[in-house]
C-alpha cells in the first residue's frame, strides 16, 4: 500500500469516525450558545446509542431506531434543563449527574443487548454517483455512510441558522446578555429549554450514528468518552459549527490511527510490530483534546472570542 492510499483510507475513516462526535458537539454548541452548560453529553450519547441499537434490533427499522435514540437523549436532557434552568441549580453538578444517570441507565437497559451478535439493521453507506469517482476527494468525501452526509449538511445549516436568521439572533442574545433579550420580550426560559432539548436530540443522533451506522454494536460504555471530547471540542470550536467540524474530523482521524496502523502493510510505521506505539496512539485522542483546550483557552483570552457571556449563569429577572 502506498502512502497516498494510506492517507485516503485514514481520512475517509476519520471523517466517518468523527461524525458521531460532530453531532454531539453541534448539539452542545446550541445549548451553550443559549447560555446553558450541559456536561451530560456522554450520558445522552450512551442513551442514544443503546436506544437506537435496541429499537433497531427489535423492529429492524433504522429510521425508527435513530428517532428513538434522539428522543431518549432528548428526554434525558429535559431533566437537566429543568434542574438547571427552572430550579437554577449548579449546572456543572447537574450535568455530571446526567452523565452518571445516562451511563448507568444505558448499561442497565443495554445489558441484554450486549450478547446480540446477529446482524442488526444498520444505516448503509452510499457512494454518490459521479462525485465518488473524483480522484482522491471522491473516496474521502463521497463514499461515506448516510449519516456522514447528514453531518455535511448540518454543519453549514447550523452556521447559517446561528448567524443569518432571526432565531439565531435571539439565540445569541439569550446566551450573551439575557437581560437585554428579556427586556425586549424574548422568552429566555422557553428558548433555553428548546436549545438544551435540541442539544439532547443531536447527542442522541450522535449516539445512534455510532451504534447503528459507524461502529455497529453495543457494549457498556460504548462511547468511551467521546461525549466528553465533544464538550472539549465546543471550546476549541469557539462555539462555531464550521470550526468545530474541523476539530471533530481531525479527532476522528486520530482515533483511527492506532487501528489503521495495525496493518503490517502500512509503510513507515506499523503497530503490528510496535505495541508500545499502539498504546500511545490510543492515548492520543485524549491528549489531543487537552491540547485543543489549551489552544482554545489562550485564544479566547487573546481575541476576546470568549464563551457566550451568560454561559452557566441561571437567569433571574430583576437581578442586576
Amino acid at each position: 500500500m502506498d502512502l497516498l492510499q494510506f492517507l485516503i483510507n485514514i481520512l475517509a475513516a476519520g471523517i466517518a469516525t468523527g461524525t458521531p462526535i460532530l453531532f454531539a458537539m453541534l448539539g452542545e454548541i446550541l445549548a451553550e450558545r443559549s447560555g446553558v452548560l450541559n456536561l451530560g453529553v456522554e450520558g445522552m450519547m450512551l442513551m442514544g446509542a443503546v436506544s437506537a441499537f435496541g429499537v433497531s434490533h427489535a423492529t429492524g427499522n433504522v429510521g425508527l431506531a435513530l428517532l428513538a435514540g434522539m428522543l431518549a437523549a432528548g428526554a434525558l436532557s429535559l431533566v437537566h434543563a429543568f434542574v438547571a434552568i427552572s430550579l437554577r441549580a449548579d449546572q456543572v453538578v447537574s450535568g455530571l449527574a446526567l452523565t452518571f444517570l445516562g451511563t448507568g441507565l444505558s448499561a442497565v437497559i443495554g445489558a441484554p443487548l450486549v450478547i446480540v451478535r446477529e446482524a442488526v439493521a444498520r444505516i448503509p453507506a452510499l457512494p454518490i454517483p459521479m462525485l465518488s469517482s473524483i480522484p482522491v476527494i471522491g473516496p474521502i468525501l463521497f463514499q461515506q455512510n448516510l449519516v456522514v452526509y447528514l453531518g455535511f449538511i448540518l454543519v453549514p445549516l447550523l452556521w447559517f441558522l446561528i448567524h443569518h436568521t432571526r432565531p439565531g439572533l435571539h439565540l445569541r442574545a439569550v446566551g450573551e446578555y439575557p437581560a437585554a433579550a428579556d427586556a425586549l420580550g424574548i422568552n429566555i426560559i422557553a428558548l433555553r429549554y428548546l436549545y438544551v432539548f435540541l442539544g439532547g436530540l443531536l447527542a442522541g443522533l450522535g449516539g445512534g450514528a455510532l451504534s447503528i451506522a459507524i461502529d455497529p454494536g453495543w457494549l457498556e460504555g460504548k462511547t468511551a468518552g467521546q461525549g466528553w471530547i465533544a464538550v472539549g471540542l465546543v471550546i476549541f470550536a469557539a462555539w462555531d459549527p464550521i470550526r468545530g467540524a474541523f476539530g471533530a474530523y481531525l479527532f476522528g482521524v486520530l482515533r483511527r490511527l492506532p487501528l489503521d496502523l495495525q496493518n503490517p502493510l502500512v509503510p513507515l510505521i506499523s503497530t503490528a510490530n510496535n505495541p508500545t506505539l499502539g498504546r500511545f496512539l490510543d492515548m492520543l485522542p485524549y491528549l489531543f483534546t487537552i491540547v485543543v483546550l489549551i489552544i482554545g483557552s489562550r485564544e479566547a483570552l487573546r481575541k476576546r472570542l470568549g464563551a457566550p457571556a451568560a454561559l452557566g449563569v441561571p437567569y433571574v429577572r430583576g437581578e442586576k
Binding site: 456536561l39 450520558g43 431533566v79 429543568f82 434542574v83 430550579l87 437554577r88 441549580a89 449548579d90 456543572v92 453538578v93 447537574s94 455530571l96 449527574a97 446526567l98 452523565t99 452518571f100 444517570l101 445516562g102 451511563t103 448507568g104 441507565l105 444505558s106 448499561a107 442497565v108 437497559i109 445489558a111 457498556e220 468511551a224 468518552g225 466528553w228 471530547i229 464538550v231 472539549g232 471550546i235 505495541p275 508500545t276 498504546r279 490510543d282 492515548m283 485524549y286 491528549l287 483534546t289 487537552i290 483546550l293 489549551i294 483557552s297 489562550r298 483570552l301 437581578e319 442586576k320
Partner: protein
C-alpha cells in the same frame, strides 16, 4: 382578576434543618424513582432493594450470630470512595471540579505496585514498605492532578475536561503495564501478587486475638480515610489556609482583593486532591487484591464525587455517604445488570440537587384584597432594622 394568587418566592435564608430534610427526602424519592426504573427495565425493585440491604449490611440475625461480613465488605468498598470523595471535596470547596479522581486513583495504584514489586526488596519491614507505597501513591496521584491544576492556574484552562481526559490516559497507562506488558504475570491481565510485606493489615489478620474478626477483610485503608476526614475538617474550618480555600471558592474576586494568591492555592489544592485519590488507589491494591489488575475500579472515583456532593461537602457527612454507596456497590453485586448501582447513584444525585434547590423557594398563596390604609413607614428618617435592601432599585 384573580382572587387568589399563587406565587413562588425565593427565601432569604435556608435553615440547616431544611437542607437535611431535603437530602433525606431526596434520597427517598430517588429510591422510588430507581424502583420505577428497575421495574421498567424488567427487574423486581423490592427484591433488588432487599438483596442490596442484606448483602450490604447483613440482617440483625447475622449480627446476633457474630457474622459481620456484610458490614465489613461495605467498609472495604467504602474506603476508596471515602478517600477519593475527600479529595474531590477539597477541590469542590475551592470550586475546582476534579473529575479525574478515577485516573488519579489508578496512577496511585500503579505507583504503589511499582514500589511493592520492583523498587523495594521483598523482605522490607512492613511499616517501611507500606509507608513508602502510600507516599508513592500520593505523589503519583498528586502529580497527575497537578497537570490540569497547572493548566488552570497558569493558562486558565477549564479543569473539568482536562482531569477527565487524563482519566482515559491513566487507564491506557495501566493497561500498557498489565495487559501483555512488562508487569503482566504469565499472560494474564494482572501483575504478580505483592509480597506479604506489602499487604495492608486487615481485621482478619487479628482473628487469633478476636475470633469475631475471622474472615473480615476490612483493612487499614479505612483508618486512612478517617484520619483524612478529621485532618480535612481541621484544615478547612480551623486553619488559615482552609479559610483562604473557602474564600476563593466562594468569591475569587474578593480573594484577590484580599491579597490571596489564587494560582498557588489552585496548585496546592489540586495536588492534595489528587494525592488523596492516589492514596485510595494504593489502599485498594495493597488492601484488597494485593496485585494490580486492569480495570480494578468499578468507578470509585466517580462514586466519590457523588458521595462528596451528597454530603454537602462536609467531611463528617461524607463518612456516611461513602458507607451508603459502599453498601450499594456490595449489595448490587448480586444483581443483574451491574449498572444498577451506577444508575441509582445518578438518580440520587439528581434528586438531591433538585430537592436542595427546592428548599430555596417557598410557595406563597396570597389573597387579593384591599389593605386598609397602608403599611405605615415612620416619618422622618432613621437607621432602623428595616433598612430596605437597595439593589439599585430606583
Amino acid at each position: 382578576m384573580a382572587d387568589r394568587v399563587i406565587r413562588i418566592e425565593p427565601r432569604l435564608e435556608t435553615t440547616r434543618l431544611a437542607s437535611v430534610i431535603a437530602s433525606v427526602g431526596g434520597l427517598m424519592l430517588a429510591l422510588l424513582i430507581g424502583a420505577a426504573l428497575l421495574r421498567a427495565a424488567g427487574a423486581d425493585p423490592l427484591a433488588a432493594y432487599g438483596a442490596i440491604l442484606r448483602e450490604a449490611f447483613g440482617t440483625p440475625a447475622d449480627w446476633a450470630a457474630g457474622r459481620f461480613y456484610g458490614l465489613s465488605d461495605t467498609i472495604v468498598r467504602a474506603t476508596p470512595i471515602l478517600l477519593t470523595g475527600l479529595g474531590v471535596l477539597l477541590g469542590f470547596k475551592m470550586r475546582l471540579w476534579n473529575i479525574g479522581a478515577e485516573g488519579q486513583l489508578f496512577m496511585g495504584a500503579w505507583a504503589a505496585t511499582g514500589i511493592a514489586l520492583f523498587v523495594l526488596p521483598k523482605d522490607t519491614p512492613k511499616p517501611l514498605m507500606l509507608t513508602t507505597m502510600a507516599l508513592a501513591g500520593m505523589l503519583a496521584g498528586g502529580l497527575w492532578a497537578l497537570i490540569p491544576g497547572a493548566l488552570k492556574a497558569w493558562l486558565g484552562v477549564n479543569e473539568i475536561i482536562t482531569t477527565l481526559m487524563l482519566n482515559y490516559v491513566a487507564f491506557q497507562w495501566i493497561s500498557f503495564f498489565v495487559v501483555a506488558g512488562p508487569w503482566s504475570e504469565r499472560g494474564f491481565q494482572l501483575s504478580p501478587q505483592f509480597p506479604e510485606s506489602a499487604w495492608l493489615p486487615r481485621l482478619t489478620d487479628y482473628a487469633h486475638r478476636v475470633p469475631a474478626f475471622a474472615g473480615l477483610t476490612a483493612h487499614l485503608g479505612f483508618v486512612f480515610g478517617l484520619v483524612a476526614a478529621a485532618a480535612l475538617w481541621l484544615i478547612l474550618y480551623r486553619s488559615r489556609w482552609g479559610y483562604e480555600i473557602r474564600v476563593i471558592g466562594d468569591n475569587p474576586q474578593a480573594a484577590r482583593y484580599a491579597g490571596m494568591n489564587l494560582a498557588r492555592n489552585i496548585l496546592l489544592v489540586m495536588f492534595i486532591s489528587g494525592a488523596l485519590a492516589g492514596l485510595a488507589g494504593m489502599s485498594e491494591v495493597a488492601g484488597v487484591v494485593h496485585r494490580l489488575q486492569d480495570r480494578f475500579s468499578p468507578g470509585y472515583g466517580f462514586s466519590g464525587i457523588i458521595a462528596a456532593w451528597l454530603a454537602k461537602l462536609n467531611p463528617w457527612a461524607i463518612l456516611l455517604t461513602s458507607l451508603l454507596f459502599g453498601g450499594l456497590l456490595v449489595g448490587a453485586k448480586q444483581l443483574q445488570p451491574t449498572g444498577i448501582a451506577f444508575m441509582l447513584q445518578g438518580v440520587i444525585l439528581f434528586v438531591v440537587i433538585g430537592a436542595e434547590m427546592l428548599t430555596r423557594y417557598r410557595l406563597v398563596i396570597a389573597r387579593h384584597q384591599a389593605v386598609p390604609g397602608g403599611l405605615g413607614v415612620p416619618a422622618g428618617l432613621e437607621i432602623t432594622p428595616t433598612d430596605p435592601p437597595t439593589r439599585g432599585e430606583g
